[in-house]
């Protein structure tokens, strides 16, 4: 399941050809293994999704890649540098935007960009040009002299992204960059991400929005410290989906979900998974052809109106739920512990 680069693959590619490499990466905090022998690599200019439940080890991995914490075992390479021993050199070429990313609220947008630019070593001329570039890229024209404290959520995110890439890094790590941002701003934000990728920047991004995960060229899914799946979204839907997904539209989703969960427990129907997506229900069954009608029948027999029931391509979230179920162990212990 884990995507281990074969020795021959390595030999074929020269040093540093993969902007990001991790091999058997492990991190232990006392008794607790946060990251367990994770191996993957990211291709140049790729938008790589790094997905998984909270507490699964996503942020710990990123911190190791950034050289912020030291791995317990395994090897790492970012742009051919070793994050542990060549931290500062590597960081000069890497950008990082985190949820806790602190923009200075008492500086203006422009001043924030200026500050980070100087800290990253841009000289005056380069910085002046870059400032204008970033303001334009982030759509902050007209807002660049506003105090950051007065910018609303979506604009702050864009500014934070701008500051994270002010030094034109070749690799960027984005940790939930669009959390809570409205639908329109999110799409615009991903437009920015794609623009960066098209220019050759390698991007690793974590997100909980499934439509954004679909926008990644490849995704890696980590759960309980282990890499349980890696590949393009399509590949994962084919290889990691246990069963097929029925999508149900009904005016009474909560009631329907309850009935379906009962059926699952009693196994009166071979239901693998029941999940609510907004007002729609996804039901995973071994075969859509075989079980579409029985599922409908069951619901209608309980006086639930089924406006629509159809077999759909699984979403990535369906895949992950299925994968998590496949993994040994139920509740994620990591969830209870604060990151």
């Amino acid at each position: 399941m884990a995507d281990k680069p074969l020795a021959s693959e390595y030999a074929a590619r020269p040093e540093g050809a993969y902007p990001v490499i991790a091999e058997d990466l492990t991190k232990r905090f006392g008794e607790f293994t946060a990251v367990d022998r994770v191996s993957f690599h990211i291709l140049p200019g790729e938008v790589f999704g790094w997905l998984g439940p909270n507490g699964a080890g996503k942020t710990t991995t990123i911190r190791m890649l950034l050289g912020l914490i030291r791995p317990s075992a395994g090897t790492l390479g970012v742009l051919g540098f070793d994050p542990v021993t060549q931290t500062k050199i590597m960081q000069a070429h890497v950008g990082y935007m985190s949820q806790l990313f602190t923009l200075y609220n008492d500086l203006t947008a422009r001043e924030n960009i200026h500050f980070y630019g100087r800290v990253y070593g841009l000289n005056r001329k380069a910085l002046a040009q870059r400032q204008d570039e970033i303001i334009q890229m982030a759509g902050l024209e007209g807002r660049e002299d506003m105090l950051t404290a007065n910018l609303s959520g979506g604009w702050k995110q864009r500014l934070a992204l701008g500051c994270a890439i002010v030094h034109n890094p070749r690799v960027v790590f984005l940790d939930e960059p669009t959390a809570g941002v409205d639908a329109i701003s999110r799409r615009e934000f991903w437009g920015l991400i794609y623009a960066m990728a098209n220019k050759g920047t390698t991007i690793l991004v974590t997100t909980h929005y499934m439509d954004e995960a679909e926008l990644c060229q490849r995704v890696g899914f980590i759960n309980q410290g282990r890499l349980v799946a890696i590949g393009t979204p399509d590949e994962l839907k084919q290889t990691h989906m246990r069963g097929q997904v029925l999508e149900i539209d009904t005016p009474e989703p909560d009631h329907a979900v309850r009935l379906l969960k009962e059926a699952q427990t009693k196994q009166s129907l071979p239901i693998d998974e029941v999940a609510l997506y907004g007002a729609q229900i996804h039901v995973v069954v071994p075969s859509a052809d075989e079980f579409l009608k029985p599922v409908r029948a069951m619901l209608e027999s309980e006086a639930i109106v089924v406006s629509n029931i159809v077999w759909i391509t699984p979403t990535l979230e369906d895949v992950f739920i299925s994968t998590v179920q496949n993994q040994a162990g139920q509740a994620t212990p990591g969830k209870e512990i604060k990151n």
Binding site: Y104, D106, L107, E111, H114, F115, G117, R118, V119, G121, N123
Partner: protein
Amino acid sequence: MAKSLQRLRALIYKETVQILRDRRTLLLFFALPLVELFLFAYAVSLTVTHLPTAVVDQSLDTRSRNFIHAVVNSGNFDVTLMLQNEQQVRQAIDAGTVKVGVIIPPNFERQVLLGKGDVLILLDGSDSFSVQSGYTAALSITQKYSLDLTTEKVQSGGASTVLNALTGQLPITTNTRVLYNPDITDLIFILPGLIALIMQIIVVTNSAMAIVRERETGTLEQLLATPARPAEMVIAKLIPGMLVAILDMTMILAIGVFWFQVPFQGNIMLLAGLSILFIISGMGLGLVISAVAKTQRQAQQLTSVIQLLAMLLTGFLYPRTTMPLWTQIIGNLIPMTYFVRVIRGIMTKGVGMTFLWKDSLTLFAYAALALAIAAVISKKRLD
């Protein structure tokens, strides 16, 4: 290296901009040193002149009158009271009306002629500076006067008197007694004031910071949405600080009295009661700061200003009597000024309400004002 300098410059620039944007802190950075400068230049003086003095003239003759003139003309002593006897002088010192008592015994003229003139000087030992200055001044006045007398005698008399003058004693000696603090131990003088200062620091800092901190972290909004009344929230914030202050006071007092042997002459219950008033008034000060300060940093700095003013202007260390009027007025606005007198009065002098009623009343008024401020400041909304 060049890159490092560049980064350093960038960081410095950021910090500077952040400070410049913080107008209030900026004001304090410049106002504070200026205040300190002027205070030290004009208000604070280590030697005391114009000590309020009570004089008892039990001789009522030319010599005694001349002596009193010498005392007055020296400029060190402001004779404000003419009393009848030592007992009255002690009472006046107890009451704090005078700091020095000069008592001339009967038959001064004859005693002086015999070369046995003796003046009793009483000094208020609870006030260290007054003691030092008063003592030195009294001594020098007496010596000078004595010298004048001797010169006079020599001029009028013959050679034998010169010999006498040179070898003998001066005709007037002073017998100085420092009340309450006979060894002039610094700690006895400092400790009561120190207690007052520490209590103020704790109470003012705690009240200001607790409120500003909650405003900053955002828990305020969550609590405002409950039935909790703003008054309740404010009081709850203040009470732990109050308890800490009381505990601290008790601790320092205990150590001071039992370990350092600082005398405690007066009524501890009285002190307790007045301390509570003082604490409440300190909270008022803290609340005012919390209303003005927008961030914890600003609150911290405003608190420092208050502490500095308290150290300099309340009579804790530096005597108030010699300060120019305007600093005395500022000092009068600070509750601690009154409490310093109260605690010194109780601890060192052992006096009671008879002498402390004025200061107690003022403390009471401040405490009431503090509660009024608390009521006004408590808002039930965010804006």
